[in-house]
Amino acid sequence: MRYDVRELVYVGVFGGLWGAIEISAGSALHALAVPFTGLLLAATGLTIALVGRLYVPRPGSVLFMALATAFLKMFSVGGVVVTPIIGILMEGVLAEGGLLLFRSSRAGFAASGAVATLWPLVQPFVTQGLLGGAGVLGVYDGVLRLGAKLFGLTPASGLAIVGLLVAMHAAAGVLAGIMAWHVGTALRARGHEWTSESRRQ
């Protein structure tokens, strides 16, 4: 698939916007060990990438932006952090998959956001559990303890905690998707027309 100059510039600009958040706020939030930093960054980054999708309406463009962001993060001064790079790329893949299934619409953006923001919940199982060797059950135990503390439940009510965590992550994604659609609408009202299929061809 070939992108034209305008689309490549937009991919770079939206990748840069997402990258700026990841490099500055992301590094600070990780350093301060703020809970749910991954979810916060995923929701913000996906909002930007989904707005970008309105200006580069091609399958794969969100993934392209995620790729640009991941490279910016990789070469940032803060040092190499492998897990955020995995997170950014996986969020791009999931959002792209969501858009493929649900199309570019307000509902589609909300659904894609919901799918992609589930990744920060899954990521510890992959990075610590499988890659790190901590074991999936060990990570599950940690997630349950965190969830129990957050919702005021006991770790014994495992399923309820998992359900609430999934709902919380999905809700953040839905908000990110709706926010992206609203921002896109406001941008169009300001004269930044969305790129339509007809204009692109």
């Binding site: 770079g12 600009v13 490099i23 490279f71």
Partner: protein
């Protein structure tokens, strides 16, 4: 007798020390993939191999080990399994008991994390973003190099626009009550500013008759030393996977 190395030998040695970016990407993948799938003595071999590679061809990878922040972030990997995994069969001073299986697991997690970190840091300090873009362009991701260049230039601008706009909002009483609406307005302002700048970049590129179709990634032919690297890495990987 002349004690100097033959000129061809020196050139080969120099070429061995400076593999192409594509080969460096291979070195990174080698460390990450084998670091993840290996355990026990195999993980030790990958760890030693990664450190040796870093010492020989990408010293930036070892410099990352001097950062206290890295060690601080690795401490939980080592300590948590000691107390989480049952049974706690090792008695320490002061009546403290830890798990012997936790010691093994913690150490392997630590070694794995250092392996991946050293490999990634070595890669990012020796390969520029331009070189990486060339590798990806050569791999068929057309235009990614140009988009990455734009991203690198716009990240500073983006940061500036984010901070100045947020400051302006706060000075005008923003984010105190209707956070959702003000958050949206902030994003609209930032993206609108960046889109205007993007249009300027597009105009400048078009004025220079730039076209993604004309991008030719820098020619990068693998030399004999590069093939040596590839052969050695594949051989070690096969030995580790089969043994």
């Amino acid at each position: 007798m002349d004690q100097r190395e033959p000129p061809s030998m020196t050139a080969t040695a120099r070429a061995m020390m400076t593999p192409l970016p594509a080969v460096r990407l291979g070195l990174l993948m080698w460390s990450v993939v084998l670091g993840v799938v290996s355990s026990g003595w195999r993980l030790g071999v990958v760890f030693a191999g990664t450190l040796a590679l870093a010492a020989v061809v990408q010293p930036g990878g070892l410099r990352v080990l001097r950062r206290p922040a890295l060690w601080l972030s690795l401490v939980p990997l080592l300590v948590l399994p000691l107390f989480v995994i049952e049974p706690r069969d090792l008695a320490l001073a002061g009546g403290l008991t830890v798990s012997s299986a936790g010691v093994t697991l913690g150490l392997s997690m630590l070694v794995r994390a250092i392996t991946i970190t050293v490999a990634a840091a070595g890669f990012s300090t020796t390969v520029s973003i331009r070189e990486l873009a060339d590798v990806l362009e050569a791999a068929g991701l057309r235009g990614l190099g140009f988009a990455l260049g734009v991203a690198v230039h716009s990240v500073q601008q983006s940061h500036h626009v984010w901070t100045t706009t947020a400051k302006a909002f706060r000075l005008r009483g923003g984010f105190r009550t209707t956070r959702w609406r003000h958050g949206r307005l902030l994003l609209v302002t930032v993206v609108s500013t960046m889109l205007r700048r993007a249009d300027e970049t597009v105009a400048a590129a078009q004025a220079r008759a730039f076209s993604p179709d004309r991008i030719r990634p820098a020619a990068a032919r693998l030399s004999t030393p590069d093939w040596w690297w590839i052969a050695v890495l594949i051989l070690i990987a096969m030995v580790l996977l089969v043994a």
